[in-house]
Symmetry: C2
Subunit: 342 residues, 2 copies
DNA sequence: CTGAAAGCGCTAACAA
DNA sequence: TTGTTAGCGCTTTCAG
């Protein structure tokens, strides 16, 4: 029984007429927490099923002021970390009855984020997640005024009103630094991400401090901008000469793959025999035997859970202070790093 | 000047009062194609800027019946082909003034798609894109009744009312088949995707027919379900024994990487010297030197363009017939396939 | 428990 | 060109 009455748009009024009740009775039957007698519920549900009625989420949102939509701005989808995050975030939100309005942003163009955010706000989202994207402080002010909670995912900002969920990037960089020191390497290279990103800055500072704690220093540094091709060029620049490093920390896995590819297939070097490489994120590909990449794992499940939690709390109570979570990750040692040759 | 008047929700009425005009005058200024005198426009824009007013997209949508939202259901985000498609689709839609309401679906659970689609419809989207997901015919009937255009992306269905954009999967499989034949291989293996997927069926049939056209036949077949771990197991099952194939066609690149990893690092085989491997999709990773995978390229830009086109046409004119595009791809020969040893 | 009535913020006739 | 008016489909008082 599909009752295909070919009604273009079935409204609660039509259901009411068919069920012989008032329109508001229909509304009550479909509103959680409203009361109706079993008899009415039965009549209404029957009529609704016959007509194929479903409440119009937009009309409901207008009244209640709750759209049940969360805006998600994302960039760098070619880095496997983000599709994974988007998938889990979307699922977690769906479980809570929220839906995701998604926007792509180019990470380096701040202007872009501005306009995209305005459009999101126009759609009356109840909250916004910015993944791998920063925002101007004037924009964060506007969101605060609108009372719309914003959570930065895998990025930080100085503005303390801004909620942010990150891994301890400094700690992760530090761990890689001491790992290299323990392996006995002394000529060390670093390939940076996009310089404007807090993750890049924190990981580099942690790495430098980790090296320093063992009396070591960086001897080479290039910039890869979180882009495969840039990272490849950076690796060649760093390692094509005679005084190449013994170990390189690459600011994320996505670039580390480019570096390993360049070292192995362009320069004919072996990893880890000739040179050690470590990344950051621990995306699934890092575990594939072709790379078997040592990396610092971001606790993506906990990051997503914290993000959702931060959102829900501030939606319920907008006066709550910003939620700033800095989670611990874990060094995953694999075959791309090895002790210095005796 | 940010005019932070801390108004939680600025409405057109407030703008009207401040500008000394009627509420509908404000509406006209913000409605494309409505007329207002330069003087009114100036007054209204000024007041709006001071108040930080932006039209409520939902209220507008209720009146006009156009939400400017497209629902996107997607699965298999770990296969790089889909994040790439999502990114381009989202961008193309944004350019046309549409926004994307995104949902994750588990590809094997048809039930799941059903409920997710209902939720999407509740939000009054103007169209739906199903990427790597099929739907029951009863569901497609419902969408037809609602007058909501649905486009299948990278998947086909028998129902002719359903728009679908695909690559010529049969042709792609055929091309791989003849490629193997030309290389002189005779013991041939195939690793299938999820058996319920039209892409899997079409690629396999094309491949078999391609082989047949050269007098060849399949000598081994396993199922990888589009999942890395399953594909790995399939490869081991197929190649661990003594009578392994000389060449394997894997139904998509994502699984082909698993197969190459298993052959090289578990079985100690060389690709292509000991065994040739080809995939399908030509995702960016296929071009990375670690894999250098021969593949059949899907014309993703044209697929996205066709999808958007199909959507826009049927939104404008719902009576238009379904749009079924089957695009030609291209065989990309790389280093993972080589001639049979003399 | 139920129906009538009042809007949510906006656009689209319709007069003026 | 403008203001007035009538809703879009729904939830939510408020009487009954």
């Amino acid at each position: 029984m599909d009752g295909g009455l070919m009604a273009r748009k079935v409204t609660s009024l039509q259901v009411a007429e068919r069920a012989g009740v008032s329109q508001s009775a229909v509304s009550r039957v479909f509103t959680r927490g409203a009361s109706a007698s079993p008899a009415t519920v039965a009549k209404v549900k029957k009529a609704a099923a016959e007509l194929g009625y479903r409440p119009n989420a937009m009309a409901r949102a207008m009244i209640t002021g709750k759209s049940r939509m969360i805006g998600l701005v994302v960039a760098y989808l070619e880095n496997q970390f983000y599709p994974e995050a988007v998938e889990r975030l979307s699922n977690a939100l769906q479980e809570r009855g929220y839906h995701v309005l998604m926007f792509m942003a180019s990470p380096t163009a701040g202007d872009d984020v501005q306009s995209v955010m305005e459009e999101i706000l126009d759609h009356q989202v109840e909250g916004i997640v910015l993944a791998s994207v920063s925002m101007s402080s004037s924009l964060s002010t506007r969101c605060a005024e609108h009372g719309i909670p914003v959570v930065l995912f895998n990025r930080e900002q100085d503005d303390p009103r801004m909620s942010a969920v990150t891994t301890n990037n400094y700690g992760g960089g530090f761990a890689i630094g001491t790992h290299f020191a323990e392996l006995g390497h002394s000529r060390i290279g670093y390939i940076a991400g996009f310089e404007g990103a807090s993750t890049q800055r924190d990981r580099e500072q942690g790495f430098r401090d980790g090296l320093a704690s063992a009396g070591l220093d960086l001897s080479a540094r290039e910039v890869g901008n979180f882009i495969y091709a840039d990272a490849r060029a950076a690796a060649l620049e760093m390692c094509a000469g005679t005084d190449r490093p013994e170990a390189i920390f690459v600011c994320n896995d996505h670039m580390a793959f480019a570096v390993m590819d360049a070292l192995r297939f362009k320069l004919g070097l072996r990893v880890p025999e000739d040179i050690s490489v470590a990344g950051f994120d621990d995306v699934p590909i890092a575990a594939w035997p072709a790379y078997d990449l040592t990396s610092y794992r971001q606790p993506i499940n906990r990051m997503v859970a914290q993000t959702v939690e931060a959102l829900m709390q501030r939606i319920e109570d907008p006066t709550r202070p910003a939620h700033r979570a800095k989670l611990e990750g874990a060094l995953i040692q694999r075959g791309s790093t090895a002790p210095a040759k005796g």
